[in-house]
């Protein structure tokens, strides 16, 4: 289901982008050299471990905020990316038995700060266009914290996990230097969960899922 959402989001972005590209009269001037595209991002993370997140923090659909830099046109249409987002959500500890969830009234705070390091390819047409579809992949480093009331160092979690993401999206130039964009990611962070806690009760081991991202950014260098 989440993969379907991801693909649908990407397809929709490309479908919107390509006809516009064909019809667009706007022709930005091209200059040689890389372009720095810095952006702020608002994510909606939809976790694979849906039962676990539903039980503990009340939802498996959580917003995250952050930003990144894409350096485009390094070689032809290749770009590289570094992005960071941050998610924080308050919930409560539970006991899970045979699928039944018993909230225990013990506050818990979850924070995650995924760092993406990767790159991709922009699918530019032969004619200049304000829309630039792209796709790529990234390595993920995910600092993860889970802090509970009454918890001590042994109870709380402060750990980093690694994983990977593939993404696709479209960037639209609003002006010569201002952009907006939409992107979908599929993230895999295997074996981060499932050894204890609610994730063990639900046998959910992957901290990844689908991320829908909206960006607003500026282009520098061209």
């Amino acid at each position: 289901m989440r993969l379907f959402v991801c693909l649908a989001f990407t397809a929709a972005a490309l479908t919107v982008a390509l006809p516009c590209a064909a019809a667009g009269p706007w022709t930005p001037a091209r200059r040689p050299g890389p372009v720095f595209h810095a952006y702020a991002a608002v994510d909606l993370d939809i976790f694979n471990a849906s039962q676990t997140f539903d039980a503990v923090v009340g939802s498996s659909h959580l917003p995250a905020y952050g930003g990144g830099v894409d350096v485009t046109d390094i070689w032809k249409h290749l770009f590289i990316r570094v992005a960071v987002t941050h998610l924080s959500k308050k919930g409560g500890r539970v006991f899970v038995d045979s699928g039944q969830v018993f909230p225990l009234g013990i506050p818990l705070t979850l924070t995650m700060t995924p760092i993406e390091i990767g790159g991709g390819w922009r699918f530019a047409g032969k004619r200049p266009s304000r829309f630039a579809p792209y796709a790529g992949g990234a390595a993920l480093i995910v600092p993860y914290k889970e802090t509970s009331a009454f918890g001590d160092a042994a109870d709380n979690v402060s750990q980093s996990f690694t994983g990977a993401a593939v993404f696709a999206g479209v960037e639209a130039s609003v002006t010569r230097s201002i952009t907006v964009g939409g992107e979908a990611q599929f993230r895999a962070i295997p074996n981060a969960l499932g050894t204890a806690g609610a994730s063990q009760a639900y046998n959910e081991t992957d901290l990844g899922g689908v991320t829908a991202r909206v960006t607003i950014g500026v282009k520098l260098g061209r």
Binding site: A49, T52, F53, V56, V57, R93, V94, F95, V96, D97, S98, Q100, F102, P103, L104, G105, I106, L108, L110, Y144, E146, S148, F150, G151, D155, N156, V157, Q159, A192, L193, T195, A196, G197, A198, S199, Q200, A201
Partner: protein
Amino acid sequence: MRVRVLSVVLGLAGVLMPGSHVIGQQATAPAAAISPERADEYVEAAVRRLDYLPGEVLIKFKDGVAPDREQRALDAVRSRPSVDNLEWIGEVAILRDASQPDATVLADQLRSQPEVVYAEPNYLRHHFSTPNDPGYAARQWNLQAIDMPRAWDINPGGSPSTIVAVVDTGITTFTGNMTFATWNGTAIQNVSIPFATNPDLSSSRLVLPFDFVTNMGSTVLDTDGHGTHVSSTIGEDTNNGLLDAGIAYNARIMPVKVCMSYWDVQFSFSAGGGRGFVPSESGGCPVIAIGQGIRYAADNGAKVINLSLGGTSPSITEQDAITYAISKGVFVAIAAGNEKLNGNPVEYPAAYAPSLAGVMAVGATNRSGNRAYYSSTGNYVEIAAPGGDSQDSDQFGSGFVWQSTIRPSVSDPDQVVIPRFDLYAEVGISGTSMAAPHVAGLAALLYSQGIKTPASIEQAIKKTAKFMGAPSASDATRSDEFGFGLIQPRTALFGMGIKK
């Protein structure tokens, strides 16, 4: 078929409580007692070392059986008792047949009748208390052993909305004097006996008491001390600078008396004109009263029941009542038995536990964290908790479980001729009777924390237990000595996050 006692209390040490309370005596109340014939049954059971009340059988007829068919079934008994003389307790009828004291014979005759679902003797469950020397030591090692202080950080004593029923020898709910006939060594004498509530268990926390063995109704008198000790482990008043601490010290306690103490039998025996002292082993807990008590507790809002009693014969009456309690959302903690060195027989009602989600059979650990030497073992032991151990103790009794209860020096039939039940002290006792209320107290905390079903309370306790002992051949996740392990209240209350 003989039943042996389950709950052997291995040692008891009483110390005088500094500033022991003598509650102001109030108006004298009339004494009440069981009938002389009934008292004789208890005496005869003690004399003949029977594990049932002689001449009593519990009968459950099939649904829809008409009285004439019930009479036909009763005609199978040699004395041909009349159906009109049966005493009915819910769906169970009690047949009393003085002409055939061997209740196992009566039960066998009736069991084979087509109208009968089951017939069984009215078994007596037991627990014994033996005094020990008073002493000093770090008394409540048991609560440290299960990390209760950190558990109380999360849940300080549970909630008054959680009711724990102590189905046992009772917890005294009356302060004042009552007159009873008793044997003073030379003659029967009417004696004014003082009673008082436990000063370290607020009367406001006692709810809906009921006595199912001595016809006292809602006035419950503990003339043994066992029920009071058990209730103190569950929820003795805490942080009040008096005596000891209890686990769920905000929970309310329902005193349900189902056991006749020595003194209950003596008073009734003397009231009926019986001369002399009854045997020291007199008393016990008839399974019909246990069944009534369990159903009463379940019907009146209890969410946890503690059963620190047992015997070696199964009882359908008792099992049905426990099943009923679970259906009403009640968790049941049961002592696993103290008979390891006496052939280690299977103990009931503990042995029902593995087949009933929401019921746990509790074995005992000692101060060193090992199995208490007496603690019964087997595939029905599901969990372990501190129960104390005289062989892991010292001259001060530091290895026992210490809680407030009636002071033995003024109530123990081995020490006094005329007892009083208004003085309380810290008393050290050991047994799986003491282990079970640790689990009952934890269950009350878990209920108040939000785990509302008995099966899930059992799972929370099991899954967070600290595994001990050798894995069982049939199930490597448990051992026959400790079940799933030693309870970990703090871990159970802390529950689950996402990753931990």
